[in-house]
Symmetry: C2
Subunit: 264 residues, 2 copies
């Protein structure tokens, strides 16, 4: 078997800072990042053995899909699971959840729309720091890769934590495809990652820049105020799973993701 | 007279990475940055004594406005001034241009729309590195400041050079109003500026990060290929003028800016 980098075919790497920016970017592979906490939870659920994760953007549709498919129902309203749910939108909870072989419906308002819009244009995976290396390997098998920050406020506002995680994915992809051209925002993500390297190398007592950016983000601080800082800490951990969630099917307000099988 | 920082009333600083993001940000002062080259040229023209600069987004309207007002006509198509124009969209040219007491109409496709949309919501100034300190002092007299990256492709794509210049303005504003809250993107700009400080302090032989980011941006490289790298170098220079261009009047596809007079 050849080394992983021998398969890298990526010629261009872009980063969309908001979902709307992705509309103007040509790519055959999109990696959507909603770090706190949807895409970390999705990767962790598939890593824990879930057969599929269906994200749904409306509460009623999430309940109906779960009932119809005999799926577990996870999600949050105001940071906590609603009445009758099997669990929250918590990656810490997802890590140890009894999901092996089950489908999970995950209710999350952000990002579902973006997943389905992009799925008409190319392969769509979700990314986080939890699966950064695995997602970079998947992306490296595509010529034009666009990482997409899902953002806040239904994609209208930039979210620093998504940018920091996108930088973690892009730095790994650049290591696999060092000759790839980069767009402006991807270049900025690399620049930030360099600063991160400097902090890691020169000031080992300090927290890495990406962890500081994520913990200091407005969403990270809001989660800490809700008492779920443990989830934020988990979302900062890198490569806790090798699962690459791929969008397989889309409907009105929902998308089903399954783990990518290399060569399969 | 009290020191400048005594007058700072800024409580919150935001950065919109694309014009569309500004729509969701509440502010009483907007600073629009289109570094290469519109907002550098505007600041330089007012700094050189122009009585007003009217930006116009359509070529026909620019010609008609200039004729109607007896104004000089500057601007570019594909980086160069069209037939019959008095000059280009070049800050190097603007610095020495015979504009004292004259009005200049500047034809520029990007940003005009954003200026007029924002002018209905608060004070609107244009910013660049050329007038970064002056613009920061102006911004410090407002409670909620939003710096707006004008971007590329009529505002659909992020432009790294606008972000780098926005960071230069925000770091100065934070120095004047150190207690102000910051949104996520403003925090990222400060993070990048810290890296910049590190490069300046620790590696004096290297170019500062902001200059590298700007010269390495896709637009910066395109201008260099057009043979106008001198303009890019000029746009990286900080505080070459104290002029703060303020939007005073808006029409369909045009906006007139005049220099802010502190206390006047």
């Amino acid at each position: 078997m050849p080394p992983a980098h021998a398969r890298a075919v990526t010629k261009r790497i872009e980063l969309a800072l908001l979902p709307a920016e992705a509309a103007g970017i040509e790519a055959d592979c999109f990696i959507v990042v909603d770090l706190l906490r949807a895409t970390t939870t999705i990767a962790t659920l598939l890593g824990a053995g879930a057969g599929a994760v269906t994200v749904a953007s409306e509460l009623g549709a999430a309940r109906a899909l779960a009932a119809h498919r005999g799926a577990l129902l996870y999600g949050e309203v105001g940071g906590l699971p609603p009445e009758g749910f099997d669990g929250g939108n918590s990656p810490v909870e997802a890590r140890d959840a009894p999901v092996a072989g089950r489908e999970v419906v995950l209710y999350t308002t952000n990002g579902t729309r973006a997943l389905c819009a992009l799925a008409t244009r190319g392969a769509v995976a979700t990314g986080a720091l939890a699966n950064a290396s695995a997602v970079a390997r998947f992306a490296a098998s595509h010529e034009r890769v666009c990482v997409v920050c899902a953002g806040e406020a239904r994609g209208m506002r930039f979210a620093l934590e998504d940018f920091a995680a996108a930088g973690g994915i892009i730095r790994r992809l650049v290591a696999l495809a060092p000759g790839a051209e980069m767009g402006d925002a991807a270049g900025l993500a690399i620049e930030t990652a360099r600063y991160d390297d400097w902090l890691r190398a020169g000031l080992p007592q300090q927290t890495a820049a990406s962890a500081r950016l994520i913990a200091g983000s407005e969403h990270g601080q809001a989660l800490a105020r809700l008492g779920i800082a443990a989830d934020v800490s988990f979302c900062v951990e890198e490569d806790t799973t090798g699962a690459v969630p791929l969008v397989m099917e889309c409907g009105d307000g929902w998308a089903t993701l399954r783990a990518w099988r290399p060569g399969g």
